[in-house]
């Protein structure tokens, strides 16, 4: 999976939070989180770190300092949890996963929250990438009401638009065409709906979908 441009304009372009060292640590965490099997392109991991920095730079100075402190705790996790005199970024990817898993489940809530907070930020940024959303089948526009429609034979007659008479000043009557309702077909659960004995209507604009 390769990087694609992620348009993210920081509210304050001159703000930056992460130091060079922070970025190295964050990238190491990102690799463990999202690319344990090297499924994510290197350039995308680099872009991810940049994106995260821009995002957190919208927060206040004390909060950003707190995030950097939390990242330092994550960096120290091998020392704190395994008494290994190595920093997180110097471990292999699988070792990092082991350390971070242990950190997440630490009985000291403050320790585990240092990682969980960063994981939340990184995950939010990572999974809004169009490729990830596409892989999940996420659609930003609603479509389920069409998917739930009953199939109709191709030869079924197309329902005609309903004419409505509108009285107008200076003319006898004007006739308008009512637009078809936007919603139909989903299982209804309100009492009023359950009383209805009529099957869901199929509207002209849905026909292409069900066909």
């Amino acid at each position: 999976m390769t990087a694609s441009p992620l348009p993210f304009l920081s509210s304050f372009p001159e703000r930056s939070t992460l130091t060079r060292r922070d970025r190295i640590v964050l990238r190491a965490v990102a690799e463990a989180m999202f690319s344990q099997d090297a499924e994510v392109d290197e350039s995308r991991l680099d872009a991810h770190v940049e994106h995260v920095d821009r995002f957190i730079s919208n927060a206040s100075r004390p909060l950003r300092a707190g995030l950097r402190l939390a990242l330092f705790v994550v960096r120290l996790a091998p020392v704190l949890l395994f008494f290994r005199m190595r920093m997180l970024e110097s471990l292999s990817v699988d070792e990092r996963v082991t350390v971070l898993t242990r950190l997440e489940r630490s009985r000291f809530a403050e320790l585990s929250l240092a990682f969980i907070g960063w994981r939340a930020v990184m995950t939010m940024v990572f999974y809004e990438h169009p490729a990830e959303l596409e892989a999940l089948g996420y659609a930003s526009e609603r479509k389920v009401y069409k998917r739930h429609l009953a199939l109709v034979p191709a030869a079924a007659p197309v329902p005609m638009p309903i004419p409505i008479a509108i009285p107008m000043v200076g003319a006898a009557v004007a006739v308008a065409v009512a637009p078809p309702p936007e919603e139909s077909g989903v299982r209804l659960r309100d009492d009023a709906d359950e009383d209805s004995a009529h099957p869901p209507a199929v509207h002209a604009h849905d026909r292409d979908e069900v066909a």
Partner: protein, 513 residues
């Protein structure tokens, strides 16, 4: 809507008006519209930036939080004792938190108002007294019942579970017009269908002559002789986000509507801190449970929130259907590496449902380093009981709806696979510190009282300490209300604004004295 952008101003500003409103969210927008309609010159000062609603559609969740929310949506309430750290979402933009809410609208429950009007001595806070204000706001905000057809499959599955258990679910009401069910309410409605106040109220205020200024941080209320006279502050620098060029607005009436997190800070920075300022904060701690189903759910396909249950209201719990975009949900998934990726890949088969505690816990807002406050919260034993009761109920709903696995809001916990496991966990819960909790309704940090010794503002909204200084936001609510707070805040702000308008000549004489 024409907005004066403070970040584009290059020289100091000084002006005089009848009314200055600090904050453009649910409370401030109502006050501004009402007093502008009453013929008063009004200026609204908003710390956050202005973005036209049509821009919201192009915002990714991180961009929306970074642009529209305080602390980029990463704000926290620090838990004291056996209390979880809670994320607190609040708006910082023209329109305030109304831009980021799910749009859920409830009136204040009658039993809460009964408590206010009797035990707290706020005799005018009755359902009958407030009904006309609710009626008017509901009409203006296009409050409507969410049709069953807008329910996502995620919600339907939990509703089916509730039906099996005999727990009634009801359709929510929201302030929408033409909702298309994109489940993105928390990031600014991409279709302009949510009637946030930047769409519904502020254009009306503007049409009646109000001036709305964005990027304007108010740092101090100027008080002379016990009467509020002006506000002072600085415009935000567009490149650094730090305050820069100064401004002063003199006014006959000053209305603070910065929300429960910042109203007490402004009061304290202005030397107006009584012992109650910043205390009594309630948060409505909220949590959600995920449920893995065999069928594809695509829970984002439908209204973000569409049903609720008040079946457990007597126990201090409101169940509320909720879903949001995948990246936000994934942020709470357990695991690292392959395990986490596996959880995310299962998301199309996941449903979520939430609950909210009608809390009697005690929070506090304090000045700290920088401009943002330090928020602390201590959950009461009763609230902890409610929390685990809620987790148990949501888990039962999920299994009754056919869930194969249930993900509880406990950091580092593996999914559970049977009701027996769920009951065992709820019977012997882990530390509440490990619970993933959120707050969307901080309330009560400058509470209304019938007596000067019991609160910060009078029932009219005027502060007990300072003449012509009013507060009109969620901070004046004297207790937790147990339901979403946008509509209550707006109704009470409308009542306060009507009171200011009716007594304006008197306020003017006080100001001139």
């Amino acid at each position: 809507m024409t907005i004066l952008r403070g970040r584009e101003l290059t020289s100091p500003m000084s002006t005089s008006v009848d009314v200055v409103v600090v904050g453009s969210g649910a409370g401030g927008a109502v006050v501004a519209r009402e007093l502008a309609r009453a013929g008063r010159s009004v200026i609204v000062l908003e710390e956050g930036a202005y973005h036209a609603p049509k821009e919201y559609a192009s915002f990714s969740p991180s961009r929306a939080f970074g642009t529209l929310a305080r602390e980029a949506g990463l704000g926290l309430a620090v838990g004291l004792g056996d209390t979880p750290i809670m994320s607190v979402l609040a708006g910082k933009c023209v329109g305030g938190s109304s831009v980021l809410t799910g749009g859920v609208c409830f009136r204040i429950p009658d039993e809460v108002l009964h408590d206010w009007s009797t035990r707290l001595g706020l005799g005018t806070m009755t359902p009958e007294e407030l009904a006309p204000y609710f009626d008017e706001i509901e009409r203006d905000m296009s409050v409507e019942t969410v049709p069953a057809s807008m329910r996502s499959r995620s919600t339907e599955l939990f509703v089916e579970g509730a039906e099996h258990l005999g727990i009634p679910m009801k359709s929510l009401r929201r302030n929408t017009s033409g909702c298309k069910g994109a489940s993105r309410c928390n990031f600014g409605c991409p279709h302009g269908a949510k009637m946030s106040v930047d769409i519904s109220m502020l254009p009306d205020a503007r049409a009646n002559g109000a001036v709305i200024v964005s990027d304007a941080l108010v740092e101090k209320v100027v008080v002379e002789g016990g009467t509020a006279r002006a506000v002072r502050g600085r415009f935000m620098d567009p490149r650094t986000g730090e305050p820069g060029i100064a401004f002063e607005v003199r006014a006959r009436v000053v209305v603070i509507a910065c929300g429960s997190l910042h109203t007490p800070i402004l009061l304290r920075n202005s030397g107006l801190g009584t012992s109650h300022v910043g205390r009594h904060l309630t948060l409505h701690p909220a949590f959600r449970v995920g449920a893995l189903f065999d069928e594809r759910v695509d829970g984002w396909d439908g209204a973000m929130q569409s049903v609720y249950s008040d079946h457990f209201a007597d126990e201090g719990l409101t169940l509320v259907g909720v879903y949001t975009v995948p990246s936000i949900l994934a942020a709470a998934f357990p695991g690292v590496g392959r395990e986490h990726r596996r959880g995310v890949k299962a998301m199309p088969n996941l449903a979520f449902f939430g609950a909210m505690i009608h809390d009697d816990g005690n929070g506090r807002v304090m000045r700290w380093l920088g401009r943002e406050p330090l928020v602390t919260y201590r959950m009461s034993a009763q609230d902890r009981h409610r929390l685990w009761r809620g987790v148990g109920v949501l888990g039962e709903l999920a299994f009754a709806g056919g869930a194969r696995e249930v993900m509880l809001p406990i950091f580092g916990a593996d999914p559970i696979t049977s009701p027996a496991q769920l009951r065992a966990l709820v019977a012997h819960p882990p530390s509440t510190k490990k619970v993933e909790c959120m707050s969307f309704h901080p309330l009560g940090s400058a509470k209304m009282s019938a007596d000067p010794g019991d609160g910060v503002v009078k029932p009219t909204g005027e502060t007990w300490s300072t003449r012509n200084l009013f507060v009109a936001d969620g901070s004046v609510l004297p207790s937790s209300i147990g339901v979403n707070s946008q509509l209550p805040v707006m109704a009470i702000a409308l009542r306060i604004a009507r009171g200011i308008a009716a007594e304006f000549e008197l306020h003017g004489r006080v100001a001139a004295a």
